[in-house]
């Protein structure tokens, strides 16, 4: 199981999923329209490191963060 946390304004509780890689996560999350509209413009971190590939294998306990558009300052 991996944890998915939704940061900032997405306003959704952390969920747990069975997923072998980020493609599985993408498939699952895109089923929910309220989440998929955020995914288009959100970056993704695996255990607090921004990632750029869907092929990354996931292991039990991994933590995935969804980061919507930012505006610090």
């Amino acid at each position: 199981m991996v944890k998915i946390e939704f940061l900032g304004p997405i306003g959704k509780e952390t969920i747990e999923l069975d997923a072998k890689n980020l493609s599985d996560v993408a498939s699952e999350l895109n089923k929910d329209k309220n989440i998929s509209i955020w995914l288009e413009k959100s970056a993704v971190a695996l255990n607090d490191t921004i990632v750029n590939s869907l092929d990354l294998p996931l292991k039990d306990g991994d933590r995935i963060s969804i980061l919507p558009p930012v505006c610090g300052g």
């Binding site: 993408a26 288009e40 959100s42 970056a43 505006c71």
Partner: protein
Amino acid sequence: MMVEIYSGPLDVKEILSKWLDEIDGKNWGAFIPFVGIVREEDDIAALSFDIYEPILLKWFEEWQEKAKQRGAIVKMAHSLGDVPIFTSSYIAAVMSPKRRAALTLIDEFVEDFKANAPIWKYDIVDGKRVYAQSRSTPMIGAGLLSKKD
């Protein structure tokens, strides 16, 4: 040297004084702080901020490394929660031996901060907290999990 995160508005004089004390007696020829202040606009009473610290710290550490390679240091303070208009939510700074490197670095550091620091901004209007969506920027790599088909 870490990111300094404060609850509510920043005490600009105190933070600048502290950073000035840190450079005292060292051989920095240029010190450039950038002070960001909440503007009165669109009837907002304040801005409010969420921060995801683990990734902010990594982002900042990478900038410390980039600055170090140029012989410089970067500093940063940011507010968490509500920050009323006319008060400061953000201070960045560069200390560098030379003027030219310092001017280039503060520009790049502040611009990358706006684009890639994991901080979310909200307008406080009539007591409500509204995500500043139109002023926000997707981070580098955004859209990875978006359904392409």
